[in-house]
Amino acid sequence: MSFASPVFLAALALVPLALAAQVVARRRARRFAVRFPAVATLAPLLPRVSSWRRRLPLALFLASLAALSLALARPHATVAVPREQASVVLVTDVSRSMLADDVEPSRLEAARSAAKHFLEEVPDEARVGAVAFSTDPHTVEAPTDDRSKIEDVLDSLSADGGTATGDALAAALDLVDNGPVARRPPAAILLLSDGETTTGRDPTEVARAARRLRIPIHTVALGTRGATIETPAGMVIPVPPDPETMRRIARLSGGQAFQAEDADDVARIYESLGSRVASKKEEREITVAFAASGGLLLAAAAALGLRGTARLP
């Protein structure tokens, strides 16, 4: 919570002042009590009010003072608001190395189920597209409201071929780059890859272009170091992930880099990105809430105080 006019927070000093004033007033009231010799007879007959009920009106009053003082300072709260028509493109690596099973059950399966979770997490207003790439980006689906279409794309993924990260990113950029930067609805790219770029354009250049277009590329480096796969020819080749390049891509484009070593990691990352990518943090002024609650507290304090004693607390 932040305050637009923090200088008014000085009004919070009213709270201890009011408390002190009340204490002084009560002490002065003793001097003006009526002398009555039969108080000893009267005292046991008085209805007993529990001490917290006696103090309640004052406590409510002080709370209302605090709320109104905070309202004076115009508090702002940061809330996550869904972005209008945000577009997200899921760029998924389906090269042969994705068949490795260091991530249970296989890297590809983990990516698939994580992407499906992402579809559930992302706000309804967002549009999701998909790009699947190996030697080149072969499945390109423009951002759409239709979740089932993207799900079909995800289901149809199969792993084979090399890794042309740069080309895939360029294709994804193309999908969302429509119209001038200022008026375009916000967009983001989610890249999941498990290895070095083997062919195609240099992804870092594409990342720089993405930055100019104000489209962040969030990257997930999937896989563990000692992973291997078997080629059709029977050779065992290692397929370690390439986190440095991924980090660079993310940094250059203004996105975030993640590393995932098992299916849960992937799922978690996608989940958090789902709500973040398509919504933005907005500062809302919540002055009215504070003012209204302050007013209600004051009314409650007055009502309780009048019932208990003849004066406002």
Binding site: A29, R30, A33, R35, F36, A40, T41, L45
Partner: protein, 307 residues
Amino acid sequence: MSTAAASGATALRPPAGRQGPGPVPGALVEALDLAFVRRVGGVSAGEHRGAGVGSGTELAQLRPYQPGDDVRQIDASATARTGIPHVRQHVPERLLTTWLAVDVSPSMAFGTADRLKSDVADGVADVLGAIAVRRGGRVGLLTFGGPATRLLPPRGGRGARIGLRRALAEGVAPDGAGGEPLSLALVRAGRLARPRSLVVVVSDFAGLTDWARPLAALCARHTVMAVEVYDPRERELPAVGRLAMVDPETGERVEVDTADRRLRERFARAVSEERKVVAAALRRAGAEHVALSTAGEWARELGRRLA
């Protein structure tokens, strides 16, 4: 002559709002005079001269002669009329000593009607003092309930009345400065008073009823009259809204909503219970009980009750 131990800050003070006793009709004094004599005189058959008992001049009654009567008292005209010897019985003159025990505790400085309770107490003491010094009687004063106890040994004549007035003009104890309770004062009076005196206790009889036993002891040897002074608002709360009240003697502070009718009724019931207990204790001890209010004419009420 008087033993007073008054120290600066806790001395007796004339209470704020003091009104004075108010007008006392002269006829009242005369009426009370006779009433008192009848009470304290105690004519009984065959009474001989005791210590300090003399033959007065006032005729109490004429009765047939009985052996042992003073023959000088035979009334000629009555004997001639009826043929049976009659003797005059005079009101025996006794050197009557009256002790006034006056309450000067802080609760006496309270009054919401015409005057304070202490004003009524002063008036009662003044009237009784006037009566007491008639026919050579004497009056003494002891005050209780304040930080300083005042004691005026019995004296006769105008000097006694002046001394009384001066002692009572000192006032009552200030708030919070309580003192000797009634029970101890009665014990002291029992020690000071010579047998067969009249002891008049003027107080509001508030607080514990622990004075019942000393009072009974006192009544056994003297004639005791208890004058209870009260204020009508002590018996019944007025409906004046919320009040903060403080007890003058203990300083206890309460907040009271007098608009609550049930509270007022409960208070009135509780007070009347207390007063009944006090009246019963006084009756059991054998003291005569007169209750005077600060509203209206206390003098008339006193005369009505005693005459």
